[in-house]
Symmetry: C2
Subunit: 496 residues, 2 copies
């Protein structure tokens, strides 16, 4: 009886997943292929699909099926967890009236359009009013969701289940304590020369090099593909079709290279999910922070390491003889790890990056504590960039208008970027313990054992455990910022 | 009241169209982009969407809405027709039980797989048994649909509304009377040399040339794009996003060129539909034959005409100097219009093409008259190729296994190819009358007035009229084979 009901549950979940993945295909196609004149129609088609998926999910009949299942005793541990997670998401989804869902979706569409226009005209005022409306809506969302002790908790939990202000505060206190003195020390050393990274590197050769790196990471082109899009991203239509995109700047070697490795890390996670659990929590990524831990682990711990380039730099030099023949590996390695404050999060180095996130986190928290408005946010932004990075914001496009997240109605997303990095440091330290020859393998261009380790310990697990539990299972302890500290100090003090 | 109900009807139709177009995006992506390992999952996702769209369409609530609307008096002529066509389609769709729909869908999937395997191994036996099952199913479909006087009528009507055996018989009698003597006359003339078409033509230059031709036809890349796929096709996700694909054979100039013009003709039709009638019959193509009339008009009447190449041949010679500098326009024109029987429909010349279709039509008709089986079909195929084309079929891959249509469960589709050509001849003759300078415009690479004529007379009409009525409105008479006869005689007798 239970197994028949559970089979019905699986059937419904996989049906919804099929529709969700169809929407993902439309989204991918929109970024990669869409003809100029078709964006409105495509938007409407995606809205129809989205409403349909939402409607199926909040269908009371489905709710009652989950409810019945949650009361049965004869489910396996994995099955029970799939039901529990879905029940929790169902309950959250049904807290919002259809009216509220439509209100938010209209507010997002207005705010996003205003964000585009405000950036084009470098005019914050265009963005301010619709942002104020969005702030009211997300505060209302907090009240409706009513999770945790802090009103911001409801939003953190949407991107990272069970994440709370208390937890993030604790981590960012450590960040704020650790980074400034380290950065001060580093700033006293000679800045490495990196001009050679900004010579002309032909697009087709960069493309080939990116493909070569993806293949060496273990990204399987039988179950994915790479394309070009304005903003690199990874998307999945099931573990058998996980696609990455990249962009190539002919005058900046860094742009394509590390975004490719980053997206490759995300993609390996999706390709490694359990295909037989398609559409279920057990076949889905745990959380955004764990997703980001995979991209950052490959991007930074592998892709910005000296060992990685011991193997790849000679290959690169052969490809770009004219540009790189007079640059030693040592110089190259220093250049790609240059530490310098700047205004743009996505262009930040590995260390300053977390100050960018810290600022956004503090602002988002304040939104839910003090009823601040758009003008306050802009003021806070500029104050904090001066305080934490010592920079004055030249214009809003390089300031408060730089990220799309708020324009998408997402508040609570940013912290997962930093948490992902810190998880990455902790996971990688463990991988080094578990795979004694890891660094010499990397030196030989062989990351296959690392990938197997990630597959076994992380990818194949899906959402069968929570993020913090996963971390404890793998490393013996919960998320601990010390791993990142040690990694950062060892690497960057050695570089000066 | 009526207008409120009609608005509800439009809303539902456009919602279903959104889902149908989403499925089209998945289908396009499958042909153009799909990673090897993902076809099963994608098939499943498309099946889910397809079942969903079908379920929405046959929903009794929707049926009752149509029924109510069909009884109201205050609809405009266009609105009434939209309701009537939808009512007819609703009634047809509800004739099939869910059980039957699933049975056919499984039979198609088995037959298609068998067709692939049978072609690979050149073993008809693999295909025979599942084809026999399909024959039973389509005969059952005839009984369920029960349209017209001949059991084949039900199937003809699905691809070409109101088409009947009586009508097709009449046309193909004329075809069978007209073509053989003309072909005999032509076969006595010297065969033109066309070896120069099979030199090496680089892919990238062919690609550029194809794009140039599409642009000159008026295909709007703001509302579409071209990609590569194994089999060229056109697909539409709404008039703002109509995509074509092509294939390029480096050793055959013909392959890319005329398939591009052909698909371009289909695409211009879709780009010219009334966007404000999206999702409704009034914003949809009339029928397959009218669709094919557009592709054939451009492919043959424009793209294989001497006037077209008076403009384009010098451009082509400049692009492929080495390959074409010693070939005159006259030789080129003769070569691209070489008439010679062969075994493959899709590689046939403009005249023999209709004998290929005639054979398929006769076999399909017999399927519904005489209860023949797969083995009979194969025997008939080989007999008829000997009778009509004087060729003995070397192997089944070049014989009865060449087309995918039956493997897709489609019986009744083929005749629309010939009807499309005959409509094209009649339409083009009228366009020449209505646009006195048409041929001199074509000589100057300017087909804009032709496109405007097609837009006004055909594309923008959607399904507001039936195919035969449209033809009468434009040309003053119903489909008349004489136009094709005159076109064919004038062109091909002049070529020898």
């Amino acid at each position: 009886m239970a197994s028949k009901k559970y089979a019905e549950f699986v059937q419904k979940m996989q049906n919804m997943a099929d529709l969700g993945q169809a929407m993902a295909v439309l989204g991918w196609d929109k970024e990669v292929n869409l003809p100029k004149g078709s964006s409105q129609r495509r938007g409407q088609q995606m809205a129809t699909l989205s409403a349909l998926v939402h409607g199926k999910f909040v269908d009371p009949e489905f709710g009652s099926l989950i409810d019945q299942l949650s009361k049965t005793k004869n489910l396996s541990k994995k099955e029970r967890r799939n039901v529990e997670i879905t029940k929790d998401e169902y309950e959250k989804a049904t807290l919002f009236s259809e009216e509220f869902v439509i209100k938010k979706s209209i507010a997002i569409s207005n705010l996003y359009a205003a964000w585009i226009e405000a950036r084009e005209k470098d005019d914050f005022e265009i963005y301010a009013e619709p942002l104020d409306k969005m702030l009211d809506i997300v505060r209302e969302e907090s009240r409706l969701l009513n999770r945790g002790e802090h009103p911001y908790d409801s939003h953190l939990d949407r991107y990272e289940p069970n994440l709370t202000v208390a937890k993030v505060d604790k981590i960012f206190e450590e960040v704020a304590e650790f980074l400034p003195p380290l950065l001060k020390t580093l700033s006293k050393a000679k800045t490495p020369k990196d001009g050679f990274l900004f010579q002309k590197f032909s697009k087709s050769k960069q493309w080939d090099f990116g493909i070569e790196i993806l293949k060496s990471m273990g990204y399987d082109f039988n179950y994915g593909r790479q394309d070009i899009s304005p903003h690199p991203f990874t998307t999945s239509f099931g573990p058998e079709d996980v696609r990455v995109t990249t962009r190539i700047d002919e005058n900046d070697f860094k742009n394509m290279t590390w975004s490719t490795i980053h997206e490759g890390g995300h993609a390996l996670y999706e390709q490694g999910l359990d295909a037989s659990e398609y559409g279920l929590p057990s076949g889905s990524p745990i959380s955004l922070a764990i997703h980001e831990s995979q991209s950052r682990l490959w991007e930074n711990h592998v892709g910005r390491s000296k060992d990685f380039w011991i193997y790849f730099y000679p290959i690169l030099q052969k490809k770009f003889r004219k540009q790189l023949q007079n640059t030693s590996l040592k110089k190259f390695y220093k250049a790609i790890n240059k530490v310098q404050p700047n205004l743009i999060r996505t262009e930040a180095d590995e260390l300053h990056y977390h100050l960018h996130v810290l600022i956004r986190y503090q602002i988002e928290k304040t939104i839910f504590e003090e009823n601040i408005n758009a003008q306050d946010i802009r003021r806070l932004w500029n104050e904090k960039y001066r305080e934490y990075l010592g920079l004055s914001v030249s214009d809003d496009k390089n300031g408060v208008l730089q990220d799309v997240h708020w324009a998408h109605g997402s508040f609570g997303y940013f912290p997962t970027y930093s948490l992902g990095s810190f998880y990455a440091a902790q996971f990688y330290a463990q991988a080094q313990k578990d795979i004694p020859k890891l660094q010499s393998q990397i030196k030989n261009g062989d990351s296959s054992q690392l990938l197997s380790w990630l597959r076994e310990n992380i990818h194949s697990k899906g959402r069968t455990v929570e993020a913090d539990e996963l971390c404890k299972n793998i490393t013996g302890e919960y998320l601990n910022f010390d791993y990142f500290k040690e990694y950062a100090e060892t690497k960057f003090l050695d570089l000066i």
